[in-house]
């Protein structure tokens, strides 16, 4: 992979800025402005769209962090849930993704067919996959319970999702299913960049499959693994749809599976406290940034040096 030489541009040339202009404008209007609005709202007492917004300083943040009524009751729990959800989902995606990437990296005829199958979970709209998984989790006629009963793990009907006391992990299973193909694709691209000679040399030196994996694959892939994991953490921390559609029925606030984004949404749109919802989302974002920075600390250190 050749690294492109950058054209050195003297201060006079305006060309790159021209090229970037539309992007900048679009981002300012549709990302930055709403984002700043959101931040502003979190410092006001606005209840709903159209309400008046008076500045109240840090009141919302104090309320959420130290209060114990309303949404504040669930903040810590939602935080824990968010961490649990993200960590488990991404870990699962990584393990299965790595496994798939290793398998699909090998040369064998018809490989592209399997790669095509891999893309299916990404291609499906979230709504549809939520509906399908809901149907699969159906307590009486669902696919999953059928096989569980077949293998004797289950006696009668059992509902895995959509009940007030439903656990989180059936949803995590859906998340892993949804997310691992992308991980696979990214890891695959990394794998294909490792030259074969390294493997051959290792084989000659007597390394078996596991050894090769540990001493060649992993180190070579470190950068791309970090990027892939970070990207997935980012996506799945903020994820909303699967929990909302598969895990909840109707407009119920299923407090046992609420993550921070869900809590923020409920606070903003259901309980008519737009400002507090914005505050929750802000804190969610700050935590995410914290996690990402911690994850990428090695890279940052190398940049500094």
């Amino acid at each position: 992979m050749k690294i492109a030489n950058r054209f050195k541009v003297s201060g006079k040339s305006v060309f790159p800025y021209v090229l970037l202009l539309p992007t900048v404008v679009a981002i300012i209007m549709f990302s930055l402005y709403p984002f700043l609005s959101g931040i502003w709202y979190s410092f006001t007492d606005i209840g709903w769209v159209g309400d008046e917004a008076n500045f109240v300083g840090l009141k919302n943040y104090k309320y959420i962090l130290t209060g114990d009524i309303g949404a504040a009751r669930f903040f810590k729990q939602a935080l824990v849930q968010s961490i649990y959800w993200t960590l488990t989902a991404v870990a699962g995606q990584f393990v299965i993704g790595m496994f798939s990437a290793l398998v699909l990296n090998e040369r064998f005829p018809g490989r592209f067919l399997f790669r095509m199958a891999l893309l299916v979970p990404i291609a499906i709209p979230t709504v549809i996959l939520a509906l399908t998984w809901q149907w699969m989790y159906d307590p009486f006629y669902g696919l999953i319970n059928y096989y569980l009963r077949l293998f004797g793990f289950l006696e009668g009907p059992k509902a895995w999702v959509g009940q007030p006391n439903s656990p989180m992990w059936p949803l995590i299973a859906v998340a892993i299913w949804r997310g691992f193909p992308f991980m696979t694709v990214m890891l695959l691209s990394g794998l294909q960049g490792i030259s074969h000679e390294l493997y051959e040399a290792a084989e000659v030196d007597g390394a078996n499959v596991i050894g090769r994996f540990r001493y060649i694959t992993l180190p070579q892939m470190r950068t791309i693994m970090t990027i892939a994991v970070m990207l997935h953490i980012l996506w799945w921390w903020n994820h909303f749809d699967i929990i909302r559609i598969v895990g909840q029925s109707g407009l119920e606030f299923a407090y046992r599976i609420a993550t921070l984004p869900i809590l923020g949404w409920f606070e903003a749109f259901q309980w008519s406290h737009l400002a507090r919802g914005a505050a929750i989302s802000m804190m969610s974002m700050l935590m995410l940034i914290g996690i990402m920075i911690w994850n990428a600390r090695r890279e940052i250190r190398s940049v500094r040096l």
Partner: protein, 308 residues
């Protein structure tokens, strides 16, 4: 991507092994068995992965072709107990489903948004790739930051802003939002891809007398077509599948997007999984087909993009 390590040239021990001919024949026998074993293992494992990926789809397909009475049945299999097309007929001719209208809307919005997005991000990606300019690093970090903002936070401000611009409940509003949302990811990929195209090509062209712009047009663009197409396809599918924003912004039934229409349709057909799954198949099919077409290009494009 890190540079490759140096290995000692010229030493390839396998070729150095000199064994008698008979043993070589036996070894090749074992070698073939080993190869077959490897192949079988690979097919099994890859098959397992493919099965996991496709299981829900197969189930969805089966339900959609199943006669409604047999959907809730203790007997579970992957081929319909009684094959029927009536679910599809129901969905396609049901005036409540409004499926054709919704499809047209989704198609319109996704296409225009993708084109807009590509126009913006191709030039931006090129700029990020080829030029060193003040504020480049900051801009890169800034893009990353934008990507991290949770949707709930943006949704509120976005909604208010669109309301002021009178873009609520108009397809154009949705188009603009979709085009804007996909910017970050597209720029990353395209930049990565442009990085992989050697600069020498442009330099050569410019030496031959082209201006920078025409070098861009004649050389870079054709070369990057596969990657651009792949990114475009990804954006298209993203727009096709998007739900939350479409739900919030579009209210009139004649302007609804396809995924939103499913939810409304489900409200009517609450118990019937058959028509709902049929509807889902119809919505998901184009996305899956498009994705599989672009599969080759996508993977190579993504590969290039992620080797930062």
């Amino acid at each position: 991507m890190t540079t490759s390590r140096e290995i000692q040239p010229g030493i390839d021990k396998t070729h150095r092994l000199k064994i008698g001919t008979a043993s070589t024949a036996m070894l090749s026998q074992i070698g073939r068995l080993q190869k077959m074993f490897r192949l079988i293992m690979l097919y099994l494992l890859a098959g397992l992965i493919a099965l996991i990926c496709l299981l829900p789809i197969l189930w969805m397909a089966k339900t959609s072709f199943e006669t409604p009475q047999f959907i809730r049945n203790a007997q579970v299999q992957f081929w319909p107990l009684q094959f029927t097309l009536e679910n599809y007929k129901n969905v396609l001719t049901n005036p409540h489903a409004m499926i054709w209208r919704a499809m047209l809307n989704s198609l319109t919005v996704a296409s225009i948004a993708t084109v807009l997005n590509l126009m913006i991000t191709t030039s931006a990606g090129y700029a990020m790739s080829r030029f060193e300019f003040k504020g480049k690093l900051v801009f890169g970090m800034y893009l990353l930051m934008i990507y991290m903002i949770p949707r709930t936070l943006i949704l509120i401000g976005l909604f208010v802003m669109l309301a002021k611009l009178r873009l609520i409940n108009r397809l154009m509003g949705l188009v603009i939002v979709y085009a804007a949302i996909g910017i970050t990811l597209s720029i990353w990929w395209l930049k990565g891809y442009f990085d992989s195209i050697p600069v020498e090509l442009e330099e050569q062209a410019m030496i031959d007398g082209c201006s920078r712009v025409s070098a861009l047009r004649r050389i870079i663009l054709p070369l990057s077509m596969p990657a651009v197409a792949a990114v475009g396809l990804f954006q298209f599918v993203d727009c096709w599948n998007e739900f939350m924003i479409a739900l919030t912004i579009i209210q009139s039934p004649q302007l609804r997007m396809l995924p939103v229409q499913i939810v409304f349709f489900m409200g009517i057909q609450r118990v019937e999984w058959g028509p709902v799954m049929a509807f889902s198949m119809i919505v998901a099919a184009p996305a899956i087909i498009l994705f599989s077409f672009a599969q080759r290009n996508m993977v190579s494009g993504l590969m290039a993009g992620f080797s930062k």
